[in-house]
């Protein structure tokens, strides 16, 4: 049974429609890559899942609950952890405060996050606004993990990270997948790295899902047509 399921979801920013029918299924413990060129609606899909943008039609379900019309915070409490595009750390708060702001009980706590990203431990009392770009990215991931989600959503979570760190993060994601049975929805631009962790991929084009299948089934022709590589 799938943990998250979206069918024929449409959504608009005011008068301009951005999603024209998105279909997406994620099972328990599965890592799904959401792909597509710039501006095709990946982040919009994520916002719709998290209740930050209301869906205009279609069905959204998470763990058997209907997400449509549900307030953002209630969706998060169901177990959806978001690492948003552009990080959005709480700038005036310290690293530690960012992490504990929304923490919920579970295995993930400050110590575990610090283990994953030792840099955050070093910067513990510095405000998020004075962190380097990469440090902020780590903070955003740590923050999402602190709510102990069942589904982790990573929207360009490795953007701006040094290759070593990126490798660490991918390793961490792989470990999460292996050890904790966490489901993950991931948006990222480096196909090569995605291929290593993702089980399946869904491709969006102009706000609609146009393809879905296993990573291995992603042919060069598809890549060229929808991803431009």
């Amino acid at each position: 049974m799938s943990l998250l399921s979206l069918r024929d979801v449409t959504a608009s920013y005011g008068p301009s429609q951005a999603l024209f029918g998105v279909k997406l299924e994620i099972s328990e413990g599965e890592v799904v890559a959401l792909m597509g060129r710039n501006g095709m609606g990946k982040s919009t899909t994520i916002k719709t899942i998290c209740g930050m943008l209301p869906a205009s039609s279609g069905t959204l379900e998470f763990a058997g609950e209907n997400l449509r019309g549900m307030a953002s915070h209630r969706i998060a409490r169901l177990g959806v952890g978001l690492v948003p595009e552009g990080r959005r750390c709480f700038a005036p708060l310290t690293v530690e405060e960012n992490l504990i702001a929304a923490a919920r009980p579970g295995p993930w706590d400050f110590a575990m996050v610090a283990e994953l990203f030792p840099r955050l431990e070093e910067r513990r009392d510095q405000t998020a606004s004075s962190l380097s770009g990469g440090e902020q990215q780590m903070l955003a991931i740590g923050r999402a993990l602190m709510i102990n989600p069942r589904l982790l959503i990573l929207d360009e979570a490795t953007e701006g990270l040094a290759p070593v760190v990126r490798q660490e993060i991918w390793a961490a994601i792989a470990r999460l997948k292996r050890d904790s049975g966490l489901s993950i929805l991931v948006v990222d631009k480096t196909l090569r790295e995605l291929a290593a962790v993702a089980d399946r991929a869904v491709i969006l084009n102009k706000g609609a899902s146009v393809w879905s299948g296993t990573m291995t089934a992603l042919t060069p022709e598809l890549k060229d047509r929808y991803l431009g590589v």
Binding site: G39, S43, E135, A162, P163
Partner: protein, 254 residues
Amino acid sequence: MTDQMTQVLKVRNLSKSFGALQASKNISLDLKTGEIHALIGPNGAGKSTLIKQISGELCPDSGEVEVLGQDVSALDRVARAQLGLGRTFQISALAMEFTVLQNTVLGALGARGGVFRFFGNVMRDKALLQQAEHALKRVGLIDDAMRRTADLSHGQRRQLEVAVALTMAPKLFLMDEPMAGLGASGSKALTTFLDELRTEAPILLVEHDMDAVFALADRISVLVYGEVIATGTTDEIRNDPEVRRAYLGEEEAV
């Protein structure tokens, strides 16, 4: 003399501390005509901090910055921009309520001067429009010219950043992670584009996308904990064990 001419940017012994944290330690580097000089290094190494000191947003504790042989250490960022420093930001800094075209016209206006004019419709100024549209064409945003900047996707905003810098026709570019947030196709297109751009003005490029860096850079400097630990060609850097340990990791080197 010729060496002087080709050195568009010269940074000498720059140091900067934030409290106990030394973000720049005695950094020296230069940028020559026609080259792309990439600056890489772990997160928090001080790359953006260095860019900010060059562009004039931050004041170094000591050291000098020279642009085209002129010491600009005493100038503020506006004056440096007027001298020809084009800059893109790591986190997009654009006028969000403006259309894409208005943002680029603003760039063209800044480059041309004459801001203190209270009459005449700036969006009907042929010269400015031409310059702006040209820049938009080059980054592939011309079809979005009339859209509101806030409605652009993240990647499109990065393209717009570059376009605005282009309208300034700068003498050199400071680019802080221009590829960040661009999809694979976008990165590819931008790589091709920067490759051409270097003949117009040299680029000091901060980037974590190693595909792009290795494809583009004539020289690479590696910054770790505020210090330049290595400068060299692509191959030298790729094979430097210290750099691999501190930054590239194992995979990238392969």
